[in-house]
Symmetry: C2
Subunit: 339 residues, 2 copies
């Protein structure tokens, strides 16, 4: 399986590390032989049509920009040209998220489809804006689109619902889907500090961005709700179909009052029969969904098996890269059964 | 898919209910057409080679013993004879658990294998005593053995680890795998009552048996550890390979001391590099594994994706029956890909 890696930040490097390190072992375990034939980022690309060797992948991590590598570097070659011109089966798209335009990921994904390549992405942008259209386009081109890493980081929330709950009916989904806001709310209630103080701590620790709107205004959670709704609940929606309210205005007093009722306030994305929403909700402290710190958790309500809650770290470079590996294995498996 | 249902208690009736109720819908969703052709319990059997109709399945629930049904009853016909003589693809084995001999389930399962039938069971007994041998016997006879309902009830703990964590490596498993003991420990610490008082409450509410040894001495948890170790960690072990200590001697003082350290005492089954164990352990109160009441929870520690915790109800007739349905669908799916 020849792979074009587009995006070379924390997740991209994590993918490169995992594929390099487990190269031999995975071959043995799954008849799976992944080769990165190109890495493209904003400055250019590196290309080796036979597959970049594990040692070279390790060495490239220290080359900045990666396209400046004297042996296999192609400075200024665009990712779109790489996707078009380099022969490969899969494009792994891990560029930064943009929920206004979805770019550059949107163009990378559609270019991959049109040139007959499967796509694994961790980028919520294109999916939040156009998931129904993108899944149709993939089907039309007879390729797979996989995106485990977009929800729950390394925690396989999408797979769990899709693969482990077959035969049951999922009636609703509620989740803490953003670690940053969960950290802020946990800090506020544990240390009795204001929202602004907790946000500042989160920024200092690298949990929150300097421009934190994506997290605290609920958009990141909303993107994940869109993906869950489409993939699990078969709802053809995009970001504009949601009611979204973040936690920017939350006061310590609200948390204290919830606490008196035995509850904690969390930013919850929820899908049931009505309009999918993102908003703060009170959750009983002894509910399994009520996890603290940067953890994510999602509860699936099912017809027969009751409520099932999955908890894990929702972010992290290596964790999210492990989701990419799962997706690659899934595509490998699907292809093996196709032919 | 023709099914022989062996055992007609809470889970058996749940299986019958689910297959009757979702009959039409499942056909449509999965090309899956389950028909119960026989039900056998200790008093005899009912048999209809064309499949017992949904309405009849509902009506049979009120017939005691089921074999006294005037139309399709076979009083005193043994389950072994039914398995031998009735044509079917799958035996669903849901008789009571016995961890000394594994019987009668052990004989039912092996008879099914020898007559070329797949087996879905919720019975921990045969697996705890002889899982490595049973999986070999199934392979030898070219049939499938599935047992989702043995661990976690309706919560798909086995499937989660097997299907959702592919590409990662599971380094260890720790779990609260028995709802009865978790209820007792939760009651003790929340209401500050003794073990004996909490046990009495659990018995009154039907959470604990009159003879509670299976739960409180850790054997039920141990059976589940054996199954997890074999299925997920590829360890060829049986019940005798475990260190097992229950919670019969636990004092309120121990719980209080743990609480001062921010912890709660739980009965934990664990598998890592060493001898698998069942024993009481202190778990931090804010750890996702620390669930209360009758809930079960299991944490998988993985190489790349960190710790992943799955929480759900670990028992219940309908919940466990939903696991049987999942297993039937899995076998259906495997057969479809085989031919």
């Amino acid at each position: 399986m020849r792979i074009i890696l587009v995006g070379y930040g924390v997740v991209g490097k994590g993918v490169s590390t995992i594929l390099a390190s487990r190269y031999t072992e995975k071959c043995r375990d799954f008849g799976f032989n992944p080769k990165i034939v190109a890495i493209a980022d904003i400055d250019g690309a590196v290309i080796n049509h036979r597959g970049i060797k594990p040692e070279k992948l390790e060495a490239l991590k220290k080359v900045r920009p990666v396209s400046s590598d004297p042996e296999i570097g192609y400075p200024n070659m665009s990712a779109l040209d790489v996707i078009e011109e380099v022969e490969a089966e899969v494009v792994v798209e891990v560029t930064p998220v943009n929920i206004k335009t979805g770019e550059p990921a949107m163009s990378h994904v559609t270019k991959a489809f049109k040139t007959g390549k499967h796509v694994v992405t961790t980028n919520k942008g294109p999916l939040a804006l156009a998931m129904p259209a993108l899944t149709e386009l993939a089907e039309y081109n007879n390729v797979y689109l996989r995106f485990s890493g977009t929800v729950g980081g390394g925690t396989p929330m999408l797979e769990f619902a899709k693969r482990c709950l077959a035969g049951d009916r999922i009636l609703g989904i509620r989740g803490i889907l953003n670690g940053t806001t969960n950290y802020i709310l946990s800090e506020m209630s544990q240390n009795r500090i204001s929202f602004q103080e907790a946000l500042a701590t989160a920024q200092k620790l690298g949990y929150a961005e300097r421009e934190p709107s994506m997290d605290i205004d609920g958009f990141d959670t909303a993107c994940k709700v869109v993906i869950l709704a489409n993939w699990i609940m078969n709802r053809k929606i995009t970001l504009k179909d949601l009611n979204i309210k973040g936690i920017r205005d939350i006061s310590l007093q609200e948390l204290d009052e919830a606490s008196k009722r035995g509850n904690t306030v969390k930013l919850i994305g929820s899908i049931d029969g009505n309009t999918p929403t993102v908003k703060q909700m009170e959750i009983p402290k002894n509910n399994p969904l009520c996890v603290s710190g940067v953890l994510n958790a999602v509860t699936f309500s099912t017809e027969f098996a009751g409520e099932q809650t999955l908890v894990g770290r929702g972010a992290g470079g290596v964790e999210t890269a492990s989701a990419v590996l799962r997706d690659l294995l899934d595509i490998r498996h699907k292809l093996a059964n196709r032919y």
